[in-house]
């Protein structure tokens, strides 16, 4: 195993101080013909070299185990660093950085037991977020702090996703069924509802032909047949990652919230075996094609973790054209956009004209803007009222093209969940 440049022995500033002090003593001893500084200089000069020789001669191997627990906005980050035989765990220094989107402890709790260093930090996510916790830097540092060497271990960043809990409670939603993708082969259909999927509890609005009378007689309660076509559907989630007048910070903030919520939505729909696709529209459209299963969950989560704000705005029609090339029309489409300006509001109409039934979920920028104003209290109140009126106006205009949900409380998706559970309301809109 060869050590990279970062895993070589490094002198710490204290070593430089000692070496400079020792060298000065040596020079002074020769110039003044006085051996006393020489005696002081000897320990100072030799200590760094002795520390380097006494320590491990190559990057020490340690085992790092990281874990994230907690629900809702709580992020309980804990880890264990186990040292090998070559170094003492007490000489290991663990340095890590808290992701910027999380808040909380900067000084984690440390427990050192035997050959292990255990640490724990309690963080919170103020808003829905996808945060990447980079693996910590584990350093062996000699007890004097003269030299250090980075340890070797398997480095896998942890991804923490926190989204509104309601999205997991959406339940069965009737999604639009689309034509098969090129290359997709469907099995032979049996009956008008397609292949039999399973038996479920009957609902009051189930027609008598759907009731499985034999199963009902055996179980003593009403059971109905469920078919693949009833069970699954297709969903496309489109994120608007174009810059808006909110500025880079505001846009990034909202995009972070949208990314996290998109992960939650895809989790929710993939759990009921729906096919889910993803599009992130910045300058161009980055897509994850329609698919289902756990692998698709990983694909979508990875794509959303990588998604970044585009530095250049792009016309909404480009998004619609790209979506049409990648996805079949008729696909239920959830567009997440801040609707902070007119071009942002154009996305839904263009998609709708290309044949995609669109629902717009719009995280409101007002909570972000409210905290950053430098106005006096009365002016602030007036500005907030005007901003709210402008926002209402934008939402009303967006409603003319597609159902639009204004999302002000980022931790609650109640209105959206309520909406998708009632497709009749959607059609009426």
């Amino acid at each position: 195993m060869s050590a990279g440049p970062e895993r070589r022995l490094r002198w710490r500033p204290l070593s430089v101080l000692l070496l400079v002090g020792g060298a000065l003593c040596l020079v002074a001893a020769v110039l003044t013909r006085d051996p006393v500084p020489l005696f002081l200089g000897l320990p100072l000069l030799l200590a760094p070299a002795a520390a380097a020789v006494a320590g491990p001669r190559s990057a020490p191997v340690v085992a790092v185990d990281l874990r994230v627990d907690g629900t809702g906005g709580d992020v309980d980050f804990r880890g264990t660093v186990a040292s090998g035989v070559e170094v003492d765990a007490r000489d290991l220094v663990v340095e890590f950085a808290r992701p910027p989107s999380l808040a909380g402890d900067t000084a984690p709790g440390i427990v050192r037991t035997g050959r292990e260093v255990r640490f724990r930090a309690a963080w919170t996510a103020p808003e829905p977020t996808i945060a990447t916790i980079e693996p910590p830097a584990v350093l062996w540092r000699d007890p004097m702090g003269l030299v250090e060497r980075e340890a070797t271990f398997s480095r896998e960043p942890l991804v923490v996703t926190r989204y509104p809990p309601e999205v997991l409670r959406i339940g069965p939603v009737q999604l639009e069924r689309t034509t098969p993708l090129p290359g997709e082969t469907r099995s032979r259909r049996v009956g008008e509802s397609g292949e039999f999927h399973g038996i479920r509890l009957a609902r009051p609005d189930d027609p008598p032909r759907l009731i499985n009378w034999r199963a009902t007689a055996r179980a003593g309660r009403a059971l109905a047949n469920e078919f693949d076509l009833d069970k699954t559907g297709d969903l496309l989630i489109v994120l608007d990652a174009r810059p808006t007048p909110l500025g880079r910070d505001g846009d990034e903030h909202l995009l972070s919230i949208m990314r996290a919520t998109a992960v939650g939505l895809s989790d929710s729909f993939l759990a009921v075996k729906a096919r889910v696709g993803l599009g992130v529209f910045g300058e161009f459209l980055d897509v994850v094609p329609l698919s289902t299963g756990r692998a698709q969950r990983v694909r979508i989560a990875s794509a959303l973790t990588r998604a970044r704000l585009s530095p250049v705005p792009a016309p909404a029609e480009r998004c619609a054209v790209s979506v049409r090339r990648q996805f079949p029309p008729g696909l239920t489409t959830i567009v997440m956009s801040s609707l902070a300006d007119d071009p942002a509001a154009d996305l839904a109409p263009f998609l709708r004209r290309r044949g995609y039934p669109v629902v717009v979920l719009s995280p409101s920028p007002l909570p972000l803007v409210a905290g950053s104003s430098r106005l006096s209290a009365p002016d602030e109140a007036l500005a907030a009222r005007i901003a709210k009126l402008v926002r209402r106006h934008r939402i009303a205009r967006a409603w003319q093209e597609a159902p639009t949900i204004d999302w002000e409380n980022y931790w609650s998706l109640g209105p959206f969940v309520e909406f998708v559970r009632r497709p009749r309301v959607r059609r009426a809109g």
């Binding site: 060869s2 050590a3 070589r8 022995l9 490094r10 002198w11 500033p13 204290l14 430089v16 101080l17 070496l19 002090g21 020792g22 060298a23 003593c25 040596l26 020079v27 002074a28 001893a29 020769v30 006085d34 051996p35 006393v36 500084p37 020489l38 005696f39 002081l40 000897l42 320990p43 100072l44 000069l45 030799l46 200590a47 070299a49 002795a50 520390a51 380097a52 020789v53 006494a54 001669r57 190559s58 003492d88 007490r90 000489d91 220094v93 663990v94 340095e95 890590f96 950085a97 808290r98 910027p100 900067t106 000084a107 050192r112 640490f119 000699d142 007890p143 004097m144 702090g145 003269l146």
Partner: protein, 172 residues
């Protein structure tokens, strides 16, 4: 993004090493020849300042704790008159300083014991140098040897600072 050092925990005072450093520095200050007892005051003040800086909760401040001690020890050693006792006191002050460094309160306890190997090498060198000074007669030759040693040491320091990989066992 806030980088957090996990080692920065409670900072209990490490009295034995602090006392050893204080005694050695004060003794060197006493022998340094600085008039009116200012050598002692200077040494005590430097050690006290270093101890206080180390107690600081800010790691950036605590990192400067060794500076006053190094400066004062060098100043006192440079001004000290020749003498067998002064030489050994200077050497011991340097060693006490190393032990005090190893007792860093921001690190787990037992640093002094764990750094025994690091302190032993300089201690051996001081012992050899002191016994040589004690038993080898003085003359023009020692000065030449000292000059040669100086050149050699400065060269070694430059090499070590430039290529720390000489201590690596593996291929770079």
């Amino acid at each position: 993004m806030s980088a957090t050092t996990v080692g920065a925990a409670a900072r209990p005072d490490r009295l034995p090493s602090l006392v050893a450093l204080l005694v050695a520095a004060v003794l060197l200050g006493y022998l340094s020849g600085v008039p009116d007892g200012w050598g002692i005051v200077l040494a005590a003040a430097a050690v006290l300042a270093a101890a206080l800086l180390r107690q600081s909760s800010a790691d950036a401040v605590a990192a400067y704790a060794p500076v006053p001690v190094v400066v004062v020890l060098v100043v006192e050693a440079v001004g000290a008159p020749v003498g067998i006792g002064t030489e050994i006191v200077a050497g011991l002050a340097g060693l006490a300083f190393l032990v005090w460094l190893a007792d860093d309160p921001s690190r787990p306890v037992g640093g002094a014991a764990r750094s025994l190997g690091t302190v032993a090498v300089p201690a051996l060198a001081v012992g050899i140098a002191w016994s040589s000074a004690l038993f080898v007669p003085a003359g023009a030759l020692p000065l030449g040897v000292a000059g040669g040693l100086l050149a050699l040491t400065l060269g070694a320091v430059a090499l070590l600072l430039g290529r720390p990989t000489v201590f690596d066992r593996e291929e770079a």
